[in-house]
């Protein structure tokens, strides 16, 4: 740590502090206020009660959570063995594999999601293949289904799980596995009793990122779910832009924010050294 004067410190920090204050905290505070303050009626939770008791909201809320859990679970199952293979390869190959794995995160979300329309569309790969094999006559409706949204989210968020698992597994010394094996453990026992417990931090961190990402993603459910399979994010957009229902939209915005903050606070409490 270097020595400093308060003025120099202020010069360094003030620009960032002012931008965050004016263009982040203030707008968020404003919609929080807007969600409870109803002009002549004063401060009330009325908008929350009326919007959160709507059965349509319940369906969408629990569907969104279900997507989050499914995507997190599936990506953990798929990424654990794959990340292990990546972490045990040489540096050159690892670098190549990692640069490929982050592609879905770096590609334009519209381009990435449109690719699934090529596969799932009415005249897409799956329907044309099934038709060609004579298994179906009429194209199946694969787009605008829950499955389509889950598959799209999975492709987007698998990389986050891989990144976190690989960085956790890199720190496990291969000698530990050799020790387990020389003491008689078979490769599966070694994997589940040595590698998995020692990479649990990566799994938890990856899971939180994948889960929060999945329940707040917009482009994927917008394109692959449309107005049939709404999630909290697409519902927020619909209420705000289509119905101009500012009250409902602010309530959804607050619910989404509270959900993500709770997850991060949970992680800070239970695994403080990770964040």
């Amino acid at each position: 740590m270097l020595s400093h004067t308060p003025r120099w410190l202020l010069v360094l920090i003030l620009p960032a502090l002012l931008s965050i204050g004016a263009f982040f905290l203030l707008p968020l505070g404003f919609i929080l206020l807007e969600s409870v303050y109803l002009g002549d009626k004063g401060v009330t939770l009325h908008q929350y009660f009326s919007y959160l008791s709507d059965p349509k909201f319940h369906t969408i809320f629990f569907r969104t959570l279900k997507f989050g859990l499914l995507v997190t679970g599936l990506s953990a199952i798929l990424c654990y063995p794959a990340s292990y293979a990546i972490s045990r390869t040489d540096q050159h190959r690892k670098s190549l594999l990692m640069s490929i794995v982050i592609l879905p995160l770096m590609t334009s979300p519209v381009a990435r999601t449109y690719a699934w329309m090529v596969i799932l569309g009415r005249f897409g790969l799956i329907n044309q293949t099934l038709k060609g094999l004579g298994l179906i006559r009429e194209p199946l409706r694969l787009l605008y289904t829950e499955g389509a949204v889950i598959v799209g989210l999975l492709q987007l968020f698998l990389p986050l799980m891989v990144l976190n698992l690989v960085s956790a597994m890199e720190n496990i010394s291969p000698e530990l596995e050799e020790a387990a094996q020389s003491l008689g453990a078979n490769p599966w026992v070694t994997f589940f009793r040595v590698v998995v417990p020692l990479s649990a931090d990566g799994l938890v961190m990856g899971s939180v990122l994948v889960f929060t990402g999945s329940i707040t993603a917009y482009v994927t459910p917008a394109i692959l779910g449309g107005t049939k399979i709404l999630t909290l994010a697409t519902l927020l957009q619909q209420e705000a832009v289509v119905f101009m229902n500012w009250g409902g939209a602010t309530v959804i915005a607050v619910v989404m924010t509270v959900l993500t903050i709770m997850l991060y606070l949970g992680i800070r409490t239970f695994r403080p050294r990770m964040v």
Binding site: M1, L9, I13, P15, S19, F30, V101, L158, T260
Partner: protein, 259 residues
């Protein structure tokens, strides 16, 4: 080794799942039918030609480019000093600031976009372009602070101490000693932040309007009305550019460690 073959098989499945769709979109964009089909019928380059002749794609590309450059540079100018203060000095409230500067990446982008719309455009009569620029700058700040902080942590503070003890002013030592030594980190932050801005939908969704749209928003609008493979062709172009940038940035800067 049966087990290692299993890990390898899962790895192959994972990469097919991640990359397969990109290859298919590439093939689909060469079809000649006016409705996107797979496998494509015929061969034509007309959708690629159309990408460059549709005026709104060019306009929105330029908007994305300018917003991306302006907000990335702003987030660096604001974020580099903040990162420097957080890494080099210890002062009361430092850990709170760390959380605060990271928080725009934690709060859902859609929520922030919506809040900015309500706050500026409807209440304050704020020009929409300015709102777009401000919103992008705020969401890029966590990236520049995080990546530059990581670069600073790898730089030995004793070389700055040497500069200062030899009489250089703090500002001078920052520009002549610190900055040149973390330029790879600043470069990685620039690339990561620019890509994030260029691809952003949740913020732009609410802060675009008639006459001003970023490229991803324009693509979403186009998809609502047309079903031809133009979006496939444009997506292919964007994917190829992304692959080139990411490969270059991984080789030169090891960018995957910062994502």
């Amino acid at each position: 080794m049966k087990s290692s073959r299993f890990y390898l098989a899962v790895l192959v499945v994972l990469y097919l799942f991640l990359l397969g769709p990109f290859l298919l979109i590439f093939v689909a964009s060469f079809g000649s039918e006016p409705i996107m089909t797979f496998p494509p019928k015929g061969f034509s380059l007309r959708w690629f030609v159309k990408v460059f002749t549709v005026r709104m794609f060019l306009d929105s590309f330029l908007t994305s480019l300018w917003i991306g450059l302006a907000s990335t540079l702003s987030a660096l100018v604001i974020g580099v000093p903040a990162a420097y203060a957080l890494v080099r000095y210890s002062f009361p409230g430092r850990s709170i600031l760390e959380v605060l500067f990271a928080s725009p990446a934690v709060i859902p982008g859609l929520v922030l976009g919506f809040s900015l719309l309500r706050f500026f455009v409807l209440i304050g009569n704020f020009p929409i372009q300015l709102g777009l620029y401000v919103g992008h700058t705020v969401i890029l700040l966590p990236y520049t602070v995080r990546v530059v902080s990581a670069a600073l942590r790898n730089l030995d503070p004793s070389i700055e101490e040497a500069a200062v003890s030899l009489g250089a002013h703090r500002v001078r030592s920052f520009f002549l000693v610190v900055l040149p030594n973390i330029r790879a980190g600043v470069m990685a932050a620039f690339i990561l932040a620019f890509i994030t801005s260029f691809n952003n939908v949740p913020i732009s969704l609410f802060l675009t309007g008639p006459g001003i749209a970023t490229l991803p928003i324009q693509m979403l609008i186009y998809m609502e009305y047309y079903f031809d493979p133009t979006i496939a062709a444009l997506s292919s172009i964007l994917i190829v550019i992304t692959v080139l940038i990411v490969q270059g940035a991984e080789r030169g800067l090891g960018i995957s460690q910062y994502v």
